[in-house]
Symmetry: C2
DNA sequence: TAATTAAGCAACTAATCGGTTGCAAATATA
DNA sequence: TATATTTGCAACCGATTAGTTGCTTAATTA
């Protein structure tokens, strides 16, 4: 079973859950209230998110609070790193073109 | 058919293709040489990447060069934006904790 | 203690995915 | 012109996915 961060954020509902619990931990029921699908469907998404360690649990009585594991989100950011470098350097190239145009105008 | 950037980068082969053509455009055959799977499989991945506009084509005779559309990659970066803000602020909080510890030591 | 509430687990289903093979169209080369 | 090369398209297949319903377990609460 493939289970990595990229596969986890492929599903729009899962991305919505991530956004939802980014700032405060929530229980499955509370999360499910925000969606049309059943609690079980949300629970399944939480399982996927847990398996790839994007989310961790904290039990409080019979309630389980799910919170986002920000460090795992950084993995996506890290993969993006090299590309960011490319588009930044291209922007700099454009910058230089614009600079040259300015100089020519003089 | 769901077809967005996030679904596109969910597949590891597709991510590898993206990395491969990030710096220079390549033909399907040249790309397929880098993988174990058949040319058709790679072609299918290129179709997915094209459909979600992560990749564009340039015909040159009977060859078709595929190049990465960096602007589309920025969409992922943008989605990550708010989270980056959170972990940066948390880092700052940690920073303040460390600062306080330093102060206490004095 | 009995009823209610929160949550996980298992089985099932329709749809989608990643891959294959086979074929057709267009361009290049002998 | 005949042949080889590059590519896309369609049909098919097994595995996975996202969702459902039904059930059990554990913690509250009346």
């Amino acid at each position: 079973m493939r289970r990595d961060v990229f596969q986890a954020i492929a599903d729009p509902t899962r991305r919505a859950i991530i956004v939802l619990i980014a700032l405060q931990a929530m229980t499955p029921n509370a999360i499910a209230d925000h969606f049309d699908s059943t609690r079980q469907a949300v629970s399944k998404h939480l399982r996927v998110l847990t398996e790839c360690e994007l989310v961790t649990q904290t039990q409080k009585g019979r309630e389980i609070y799910y919170q986002l594991e920000l460090n795992k989100m950084k993995e996506i950011d890290q993969w993006l790193g090299p590309f960011r470098k490319i588009w930044e350097s291209r922007f700099n190239q454009l910058d230089q073109v614009l600079l040259k145009m300015k100089t020519k105008k003089k």
